[in-house]
Amino acid sequence: MADIQSSGQDSVYAKAAKEAVFAGIIAFGLFFLVVGFRTDQNINNELVLVQRWGLLAIFVAVAAIGRFIFAAFITPSREQAKLAKSKAPAAAKVDRRSLKAAVSRFGLALLFIYPFVVILILALIQFAVTGQWSFQSGVQGSLKYVDNFGIQILIYVMLAWGLNIVVGLAGLLDLGYVAFYAVGAYSYALLSAHFGLSFWLLLPMAGIFAAMWGIVLGFPVLRLRGDYLAIVTLAFGEIIRLVLINWTVVTKGTFGISGIAKATLFGIPFTPGPTGFAAMFGLPNSGVYYKIFLYYLILFLALLTAWVTIRLRRMPIGRAWEALREDEIACRSLGINTTTTKLTAFATGAMFGGFAGSFFAARQGFVSPESFVFLESAIILAIVVLGGMGSLIGIAIAAAVMIGGTELLRELEFLKLIFGNDFTPELYRMLLFGLAMIVVMVWKPRGFVGNREPSAFLHERKMISSEFTKEGHG
């Protein structure tokens, strides 16, 4: 018995070694040109080749060793785990729902106190290092964390929750969602620049404009199905971006629009002057208040999106969206007007994109077509799918992981100590982002939270496994 096992073990290693060699050869083929040589410009602006055989060797070695470890250890252990799982009696099901409720309650609480937690932690660190209790420095230092992490992530959370209505609920694949984000941002930028309208007036207007664009763009294309719809939405996204670039009279082209009015707290501006927020509340002047205000603003907007989504799912229209995702023909046989149903999904999603866009413009004070490239649509869609279509919590987690993770890469300055001063971790940000998308998707094809929560129940609310839900065809 032991013999068989050890010989089995040997054969596993032998097989793994073989696969490692194979992987090494493949890696050599893949990287031979692009890694083995680097093309650089010399003084005459001609390309010259720089040879990098050492780096190539590292790439090949990593591929081979990685493959070996995978084949020799990870795969067998995973198979064993699977075997053990199938043998073991069905373990008592953990009550996922109460856990989920606890997580969401905790997460929500954390979101509300996040800026203050950051300030407190930074002040504590400051205190530990210098021995001085300086609250103000904590406030200043928190700027980066509130802005780069808090606001940035929440914008994506909101966008993804908005797109979730279209993709996750109604099952319509929209690859041009960023167009509505752009419509919102430019509506705010232009209307505030030309007419001096306030943020609070323009916020709903931007949403309405975006929703109208959603209907205008949606109407002709909604009879298209599946991937045809995808490419046309992509095309519309690109058209809007190209128009923003080329219609220079209005949009100032690639220069963008700057000096966009900031949002106010119901009329109280966040300016240093005597009428400003800081002076009004007797606080020292600082840019942090505006950031914290923006943080709560986007938190409010994101939660509004979530609230509306949750409410809509329990309404006939929300159920019709999900039914549409499951089977369009059956929907029509039940008297549901699929065109208006699709259009409302499109318009509702677009409206939240518009809200987010006007917030974005108010936050940046500057908009340019650069911010509305296809990559943004792709990232938002990726967050929706990675989170688990239709699941608000899953999507929030995905946004935090993907956006927070890449923002974190900006902070890894210490890596310079290891790789030398030329090393810029930021360069690897999007590379790692792309790879992470692949890894997460292969690991969890249905996203972080694949289960669907029913919108109504007779006896008890049971989660629906992802194997039953469909993903829509159009």
Binding site: V308, R311, L312, R314, M315, P316, I317, R319, A320, E322, A323, R325, E326, D327, I329, A330, C331, R332, S333, L334, G335, I336, N337, T338, T344, R452, P454, S455, A456, F457, L458, H459, E460, R461, K462, I464, S465, F468, T469, K470
Partner: protein
């Protein structure tokens, strides 16, 4: 109430001169019928007769090429279905349907499936979502009522226990029942069921009959159903319409339709084997019965069969006796008959449209094994062959010779194709 509706002579649905063409294919050809209010009307016919197409025209999924479909509601309103979009037909004209290949929302729960069906009234009571979003009490009440209605139907189809499970998780029979309940949740006045008993076992099928009868009794809903299961059709339908190749060939009560010779011919004429079996059976039991059976068949075919009547039992015997040995050539063989198939392997003659296994066996018994043999037939051969086959005139009508020529050519090209066409 119900009896009042029953006595109401106005038909719930009137189909007049309905035609549907797909390119050159005529799926329905000038079809006329009426479905009586409060009755169960069955639409039967062989596969490909155009039954589902009729349904798709009634429910607006296809726009008919010609014709008029008039739906008269209980309140007297008339709707011309051919002019309406599919969802409006359900919404306004109150026609609901189920599908041959069940179309449930498999990722929604059983309850949610029934709630989606109440979309239109709920939409109204939620003030097109806006009032509902703001939490107005009218919507809350309507939502509770909708759940009660769903509960009523779940009790009716015996699925209350599984209300919170995904519809895709239900067993097949339950899915069929759920689809009917879902259609009923739209408050239809006409319910169109596309093969509701398909795939059900005997017990489920009986339960379905009860369900349909109780739907008619309790709600007064008129039902049109497509069904192949004759036990269902004969047991519950008040009226049967038979289609073949897109035309109506019979119309009446189950009893009259059952005895209509055209219907039997249509049903039995599909497969040669069935006819022959019937005749064999008749021959074995006695000549009185065979004339009764033969009466039912259409004219020319009947003559042919009576002529060959004497031979039939022999053929039947030969079928069982001669199987292991190579069949000997029978009298009346065609000119190019062979004693045995070339290279010991005969072509699959059933590839020719019109030749079923029975006729193939007959042909083999008469020394015809290969396509090229049929391809080479002259007029005399055709007459000779028709003498021992099930029907005459058929060889020319179905162009066996042309088909055989094509197949013979193909089979010649086959070895080469095999070499390159192998897997991997």
């Amino acid at each position: 109430m119900v009896s009042e509706v029953r006595n109401n002579p106005s038909p719930v649905l009137r189909v007049e001169h309905l035609s549907m063409k797909f390119g050159g294919l005529v799926a329905i050809n000038d079809l006329n019928f009426e479905a009586k209010r409060g009755a169960i009307t069955a639409l039967i016919g062989p596969n490909g007769a155009g039954k589902t197409t009729v349904f798709n025209c009634i429910t607006g999924f296809y726009k008919p090429t010609e014709g008029m479909l008039t739906m008269t509601r209980q309140n007297g309103e008339e709707y011309l279905l051919e002019r309406m979009a599919d969802f409006v037909i359900t919404k306004k004209a109150k026609v609901a349907r189920t599908f041959q290949n069940i179309r449930l929302f498999s990722g929604l729960t059983v309850l949610e499936n029934l709630l989606v069906a109440q979309h239109n009234p709920l939409m109204l009571s939620s003030g097109y979502t806006i009032l509902g979003l703001l939490g107005f009490p009218t919507y809350k009440k309507a939502a509770a009522d909708a759940i009660e209605k769903a509960r009523f139907w779940l009790q009716k189809i015996n699925l209350v226990e599984r209300a919170d499970d995904p519809a895709g998780d239900l067993p097949y029979g339950a899915q069929r029942r759920l689809e009917i309940a879902r259609a009923m949740c739209t408050d239809p006045e006409l319910l169109c069921l596309d093969e509701p008993a398909a795939g059900l076992n005997a017990r489920e099928s009986a339960e379905l009959n009860q369900l349909l009868l109780s739907i008619r009794e309790e709600t007064g809903t008129s039902i049109i159903l497509i069904e192949h299961d004759m036990s269902v059709v004969m047991e519950i339908s008040d009226h049967v319409i038979v289609l073949e190749y897109g035309t109506k060939i019979s119309d009446g009560t189950p009893e009259t339709v059952k005895n209509d010779p055209k219907v039997i011919a249509a049903y039995l004429g599909v497969e040669d084997e069935e006819v022959v079996e019937l005749i064999e059976h008749a021959a074995a039991t006695g000549s009185d019965d065979i004339t009764a059976a033969v009466d039912l068949l259409s004219t020319e075919a009947i003559q042919e069969i009576t002529e060959t009547q004497a031979e039939v039992p022999v053929a039947a015997k030969a079928k069982t006796a001669a199987k292991p040995a190579a069949p000997a050539i029978k009298a009346g063989a065609t000119a190019n008959a062979l004693a045995a198939p070339r290279e010991g392997e005969s072509d699959d003659l059933t590839l020719i449209k019109g030749i079923g296994p029975v006729n193939a066996r007959r042909l083999n018994e008469h020394g015809i094994f290969h396509f090229d043999q049929i391809a080479a037939w002259k007029k005399a051969d055709v007459t000779a062959a028709e003498a021992y086959l099930a029907f005459d005139g058929r060889i020319a009508r179905e162009d066996w010779i042309g088909q055989a020529k094509k197949l013979a050519k193909e089979s010649q090209g086959k070895p080469a194709a095999k070499k390159t066409g192998g897997a991997k």
